[in-house]
């Protein structure tokens, strides 16, 4: 029994993995072609402000050094084989290995995203439950109004509002930068980091709440209208007990899954929030790479963010697999 289940899980993972692999290869190839066709000059990205001082011979040398003088297919193969060996190349603007930069920045972004993810998940879930249990009351209307408004709110504008209120007017928080300017990285304290984390995390959470809350609300309304809740009511259950016994278990799983499947949006939100609060994470790096034409870094980030999304989807699938009894325990008769 157990063995067969594991076997099924193995096949499931294998198929998933294969699909992800084809997608990943395609994404690498397409992104590579795209960035190679960009009119933004990668050599300029490398040289930066010294452009005027560089003559044509030097340009050629630089191009040769980066392999930019070769046919695109050759470049792709070179890049691809390096990629397979775990080498993402060297960032042109930071002049350091892309993998190193991504690793460093990911830690920062991860703290930000996890905070926002947990906060928005928990608060959104509670709001959705409250709203559905009190359907058509003022609480429900308030929560619905809040969520619909938030769903239409530009993330970056919300960030600006937070800046205006908490950083400029109240002066509680610094206006930007992940670490205080002029302080050596080694001297940055945990408290400093937390201080710079709060505003972007709150911004992301405020926005992220809407999706979970509306989804949970709808799901719970459906559950409350289901035959099994009708029967539970016929047996005298109501209010919180009813929710606890029949609502929670039927709503929690889809909500958690939704949160994991929303990693892509979380990443997008982080791009904007990091940009506004000058928070040194992956999102900010993505914008920098795009604006300044750092091809290796941009490609590395595209691939990494794809992995990030895949991870979320995979976890969502696995949770269903592990938790939902309908997939966990196969038919026993």
């Amino acid at each position: 029994m157990r063995k067969m289940l594991l076997g099924k899980l193995g096949i499931f993972l294998l198929l998933k993995g294969l699909r992800m692999l084809t997608l990943l290869i395609a994404i690498c190839f397409i992104s590579f072609l795209l960035v190679k066709n960009s009119p933004i000059d990668p050599i300029q990205a490398y040289i930066g402000a010294d452009m005027l001082k560089v003559g044509p011979e030097q340009r050629e040398k630089i191009a040769e050094y980066w392999g930019l003088d070769q046919p695109v297919m050759v470049q792709f193969l070179n890049w691809g084989s390096a990629l397979l060996a775990g080498d993402l190349g060297t960032s042109m603007i930071f002049r350091r290995p892309v993998a190193e930069i991504i690793g460093e920045r990911f830690v920062n972004s991860l703290v930000l995203m996890i905070t926002a993810w947990v906060l928005s998940g928990v608060i959104g879930f509670v709001m959705g439950v409250l709203s559905a249990m009190k359907k058509d009351t003022w609480i429900d209307r308030l929560i619905k109004w809040y969520c619909y408004t938030l769903a239409s709110t530009p993330t970056f504008w919300m960030g600006l509002l937070m800046l205006i209120v908490f950083a400029v007017w109240l002066g509680w928080f610094p206006i930007g930068l992940g670490v205080p300017a002029g302080v050596l990285a080694a001297d940055v304290t945990i408290a400093d980091r937390i201080e710079h984390l709060i505003l972007p995390a709150i911004t992301l959470s405020i926005i992220g709440v809407a999706n979970v809350a509306l989804h949970t609300r709808q799901k719970l309304i459906d559950v409350l209208a289901s035959d099994y809740v009708l029967f539970a009511r016929a047996r005298g259950e109501r209010g919180f007990i009813l929710f606890w016994r029949h609502g929670l278990r039927n709503v929690a799983l889809p909500a958690i899954t939704l949160q994991f499947a929303a990693f892509g949006e979380l990443f997008g939100g982080a791009v904007l929030a990091e940009q506004i609060f000058s928070y040194p994470g992956l999102g900010q790096a993505t914008v920098e790479a795009g604006l300044r034409g750092d091809v290796p870094l941009l490609l590395g980030l595209v691939i990494f963010s794809t992995f990030f999304v895949f991870a979320g989807n995979l976890i969502a699938d696995l949770i269903y697999y592990a938790v939902d009894p309908r997939t966990r325990e196969s038919r026993m008769i």
């Binding site: 009708l230 016929a234 047996r235 278990r249 309908r326 008769i333």
Partner: protein, 307 residues
Amino acid sequence: MPILEVENLSISFNQYTAGLRRKNIQVISSLHVTLEAGEILAVVGASGSGKSLLAHAILGILPDNALVSGTIKYNGEVLNASTQASLRGKEIALIPQSTNYLDPLMRVGNQVRTSVKTGDATVAQRAVFKRLHLQQSVEKMYPFQLSGGMARRTLLSTAIVSDAKVIIADEPTPGLDPVVMKEALNNFREFADNGCAVMLITHDIESALTIADKIAVFYAGTTVEVAPVEDFTGNGESLRHPYSKALWRALPQNDFIPIPGSQPHPSALPTGCLFAPRCTMATPACSEKQPDMQNIRDGMVRCMHAT
């Protein structure tokens, strides 16, 4: 005094139809039914005649877009939403119509235990499972793992362990094998003999006749006849309403002749007697106004030509 009395019950639904209009569909109209302690009342009628809605109305669990009028009395006391809520599961228990009524993510043993109001829930649940020939391992299963018959028996168990005075069983027998079915019906008889009341909603007139005391016949959202079970005999001469007679004669062991035509949809009810379009005894007067319920020979009937 009857333990449960339903008088003049009407139920309608508000529905949006295509475009911008809204419609009110009457699905149950001036329905009367009484239930005495110690007796089994079988409710029979075609599907869509409003049997389940009656059950849900008694318990006060109709959907929000339902409009209800009429009175429901329990032990002589007129019920309202809050008294209904306090009776549910304690005094009145429901055995629902379909096995979808089990929570898909809860082990069935636990679902039965939540119905136990006094005493050790686990002991009660195991005892009733044993009685209904369900193995103890079933209590750890989820509804999707049960066969149709097992799910039916689980539903039955929830009512049996509840200690309710009134049990409303909404088509509890489909999918049960003959042995378990007999056991289930005997259970109902035992309940009634112990002073409870059972409303047995069913398609299966034959097995209803073997245990019921009275039969209520439903047609298009109202009761057309309530008769003692003894009247269902011979060619149906003792029955009062043309529909009940036809229903009786349509049974395989009798003439086995189906009734021509079909029950009208709630949105297209005829004026006058609801059965008139299919009635062989209909006269022009029948189509003018809906006949009232009248008492005839120890039973009730809604037909102006009844004898």
